[in-house]
């Protein structure tokens, strides 16, 4: 019981610490739509310092600068495309979590489909082969059937 209590306490403590670590910034917007655009944009832009985080989640200094920049550009009335362009001209496609389809990114976009379809084809081929394999379709003989019955009735 004590161990359980200790684990619970540990989990609660970890939650409290991680909640405290979440970046909190006061941002003023003209309307709810701007706020929504801000949230969407910072979730889609990647932080270049801690590369597996978007700039919404990242604590890095650079991410804070980029959030400030996105906020400023929204207030100035820039469209989402303009803001994305602004980031891409400075940091390249890498800054986007959804990079555009280009010659360089064909493998990135195409590989999942190729592998997925390849896997399905492989599976179908295997299933068909197994189906036509005489070894698995031979009916059980009387002795085997008796053994099967005794196994099933064992419980």
């Amino acid at each position: 019981m004590n161990i359980l209590r200790a684990i619970t306490a540990g989990v609660l403590l970890a939650l409290a610490v991680s909640a405290a670590a979440i970046v909190f910034e006061q941002r003023e917007f003209a309307d709810a739509e701007q706020l929504q655009r801000y949230k969407t944009l910072i979730a889609e832009l990647r932080c270049l310092v801690c590369q597996n985080q978007n700039i919404a989640d990242s604590d890095a200094d650079l991410a804070a600068d980029l959030r400030r920049e996105v906020h400023r550009m929204i207030l100035e009335g820039n469209s989402d495309d303009t803001i994305i362009d602004f980031m891409v001209t400075r940091y390249g496609d890498f800054v986007l979590y959804r990079p555009p389809l280009k010659a360089k990114t064909v493998l990135l976009w195409g590989a999942p489909f190729v592998l997925g379809i390849g896997g399905v084809i492989l599976l179908l081929v295997q299933l068909r082969r197994r189906h036509s394999d005489p070894a698995t379709t031979t009916p059980l003989d009387a002795e085997q059937r008796a053994r099967l019955r005794s196994l099933l009735d064992a419980d």
Binding site: L48, V49, D61, V88, T89, R90, G92, D93, F94
Partner: protein, 177 residues
């Protein structure tokens, strides 16, 4: 035996692909700014806040722009190399003091030596953002027309200077001369 060849081949191909992927440095993001003009900027210099350093000060010649800060450990490692490059005098070296404190930066230059003709003081990092700076130190090689011809992320070592920068500089010189 042959039924294992296909899976084995696929496995080996995957190992090679992932092996190459692992050997790449994910921090080296290709800069979209190489081959583009150096963004326009005007900033106060580090030494005298009433004087400014602007884009036009760097153009008209081949120059080096090095983004640095006192909080950047790798910049300290790079510093002696920059001093040597400046002493060599092949290209003028300019600094961009990125998101730093003025007194600390001045003290650093006084203590370790100043390789820069001038350093622009980019306290809020706004110019750094235009330059796509994300990990100090970063060094831009700018040609006479003000185009960024080369960018290096991370500290420049003697070897990197000789192998990556010098040939480009000499190529530019022989091309224009």
């Amino acid at each position: 035996m042959s039924r294992y060849l296909l899976p084995l081949g696929v496995f080996i191909a995957l190992v090679v692909l992932l092996g190459v992927g692992l050997s790449l440095n994910p921090r080296l993001v290709p800069s979209p700014l190489v081959g583009k003009p150096l963004p326009d900027f005007t900033l106060a210099t580090l030494r005298s806040p009433d004087k400014s350093l602007a884009r036009k000060d760097l153009t008209g010649k081949i120059s080096l722009l090095n983004a640095w800060a006192t909080w950047c450990v790798e910049c300290r490692r790079e510093h002696p190399v920059l001093l040597a490059i400046a002493a060599e005098g092949k290209v003028p070296v300019y600094g961009l003091n990125y998101k730093d404190q003025r007194p600390a930066a001045l003290q650093w230059l006084q203590r370790l030596g100043d390789p820069y003709i001038a350093s622009a003081f980019d306290g809020d990092g706004r110019v750094g953002l235009d330059l796509g700076v994300y990990g100090l130190p970063e060094t831009f090689l700018v040609d006479e027309q003000g185009m960024i011809v080369y960018k290096h992320i991370g500290p420049i070592s003697r070897e990197i200077w000789e192998s990556d920068f010098v040939p480009v500089i000499e190529g530019l010189r022989s091309g224009s001369g």
